[in-house]
Symmetry: C4
Subunit: 221 residues, 4 copies
Amino acid sequence: MSQDDPSTTGAAAPAAGFSTSRLEAFSDGVFAIAITLLVLDLNVPEPDSLDGQSLTSALAHQWPAYFAYLVSFLVIGIIWINHHAMCALARRVDRRTLFANLFLLLTVSVIPFPTRLLAAYLTAPHGDAETAAAIYALTMVAMGIAFTLLFLAFTRDARTLHTPVSPEAKRAAIRRFGFGGLCYLATVGLAYVSPVAMLATHAVLAVYYCFDQLAPVRTAR
Amino acid sequence: MSQDDPSTTGAAAPAAGFSTSRLEAFSDGVFAIAITLLVLDLNVPEPDSLDGQSLTSALAHQWPAYFAYLVSFLVIGIIWINHHAMCALARRVDRRTLFANLFLLLTVSVIPFPTRLLAAYLTAPHGDAETAAAIYALTMVAMGIAFTLLFLAFTRDARTLHTPVSPEAKRAAIRRFGFGGLCYLATVGLAYVSPVAMLATHAVLAVYYCFDQLAPVRTAR
Amino acid sequence: MSQDDPSTTGAAAPAAGFSTSRLEAFSDGVFAIAITLLVLDLNVPEPDSLDGQSLTSALAHQWPAYFAYLVSFLVIGIIWINHHAMCALARRVDRRTLFANLFLLLTVSVIPFPTRLLAAYLTAPHGDAETAAAIYALTMVAMGIAFTLLFLAFTRDARTLHTPVSPEAKRAAIRRFGFGGLCYLATVGLAYVSPVAMLATHAVLAVYYCFDQLAPVRTAR
Amino acid sequence: MSQDDPSTTGAAAPAAGFSTSRLEAFSDGVFAIAITLLVLDLNVPEPDSLDGQSLTSALAHQWPAYFAYLVSFLVIGIIWINHHAMCALARRVDRRTLFANLFLLLTVSVIPFPTRLLAAYLTAPHGDAETAAAIYALTMVAMGIAFTLLFLAFTRDARTLHTPVSPEAKRAAIRRFGFGGLCYLATVGLAYVSPVAMLATHAVLAVYYCFDQLAPVRTAR
């Protein structure tokens, strides 16, 4: 499946010899599981604990859980789409890329934790909502850093790409990643002003990332 | 794997350049996880909480959980089969399709939540069973809308299909989707009449959807 | 990926037009998730609830959970291997096969439930251990039936196979499935004699199924 | 997909007739799920149970859970990378390899359990931390044994490999596995000296295993 390709066993180093297909399969698995596990944190109120409240009002009371669920679903989905676009650039990956990818998967698969935290504390008093929101925002900062590192690992060696990425196109892509990263960082501060606004901003940023971040790379090559 | 196909890098827009294989892999993952997570909501009664009741009767008491489990398993399985059939029409997908697909996956991966809700409240008094049933039915309405949008996204650009779908075939398929959607909508009303009948109706609708919804598309082309 | 194969769009019915690859991908996902979810039922004793007992003794006390975990892991793993072998026979699958496969996946993905039940009740008094054991054994009976139905669906239409399976080979395979099914059925009775022996028997039966059940099919063709 | 390859249906035994692709797909699924399920054990403190403590301090108190999470994530990720490298050597797998792989998957998919145990008991008194740490270390010993057995199963029959592995290269690889295994064994002892040091050592060992364990195999052939 991967070692027997004559075009790569010649000049290319054996360490560059992984096909992208298993990287994608494993990553798709982690993305798919992380995005689906989010639903486990939509709690069903215990019938015995309603205290005369209707189910409708008990469910409405849980709005932070739905809000956090939707934003995290959108975020993971968009990362998946962009990961997909990035992998499509490469022909083979080396170990460095596998590790950068593992770091990205760490930040993605941990997302259900800050999501759960936010669902439980978004309306909590005494600064706890701000703490939960800052942890959520910091997770996104880490994810943005991991995504940029992965892009650098993918594009480091032109021989592993389908088509070389020009230095200008690479710089343009990194500038866009950098701008996104700064926005993410700003949401950490925003978390202390308004946890709800922090979460809403991440929904907006996900929509911003919908637009193809790698378009300049493909256009310029 | 995807960008190096000479037949697509010429006339076709680069944005239309995703292969269907990773879309399928990610979707299969989400479908597989959502369908398997359903089992986590089949609760084992605590040995200490049986109060002299036998395990048999404690388990029998949980029949709404088994019923909701079976219907949701069937629904997700059928959506998967129809998703599979739809993807088989396409050669490449664009970003629009990726997003429509993400919306469908949102409605699929959330299904364990209304299923759990129904398992806990199907026999509850004071209108709570009706609330739970209506939420279940509304999830199915959203899923039907998402499936129709995905079909429109898939068939929008004839160049991305293996074989063009004729306007008549497309209209016939949309009419069938529309009829299914109306049925789903009717079950929201039915939820307020009889939550159990609502759930049974969704079992029947799933069986209706077993019949190949895309048959007219393939026949007419 | 599947509709553009000229060898199948001619004589073969369009309904027979699914490739086995997505069936395998979805099934692999369900098998992988079901087998991995089993670990969620290995409980960590609450530090506050040890009551002066050491962690070692609290963990040792949970031996039914480990035993049930191991047997279910083995069973799901063996079903996966045999499913793998069966899919390797086929070139294309039809809707009938997709549904038979869905039924098998239902019986596989539900396995964590009887496993959890057995973990909690294997040493319970008043016939509850027997109830839990009988439910476990009945799940295996259902799985055996589903596996046989899937084999029949796979081999029904010789045009969908890589190499035709001779009627004798098919009969030999069905006899072996039938013998396995009878053994499974006998364990339902055994559950009422000794729940522990029932579970041990399933470990032995899984080892029996290790031996290639489809060997006669491949040998005779 | 697998049985129709003329190069293998001749001399090779039919039992050697599995493609590596489904082995990889199933394994990737189990790896991806096990690594992602770890996040379920990062608990969100109940808002009602903070007792005037801030969320920050309640979360800081859970440091053993984060530490265990990170080490287990790293360990599973590295095993996946090395599994990936090992599968790349093979062209076909036999049943023996499927079973050795199943044993490895057992040790991988059980990792969330000792991780959870360690998260709950790493700072517990009365020797319970040591017990939890020893169980964690023993899981890693079992994983190392399984990995070595899988390597032996993969390389046993030269006809199933892309390129034969020389006896020297095989011995070199086994020596490296053996050395790693002894290190793992030593951490069982270390668990009784310092549970925290045991966990830190596994982080270091994972980094050691980052370096390509199969490099001598590929270099020497």
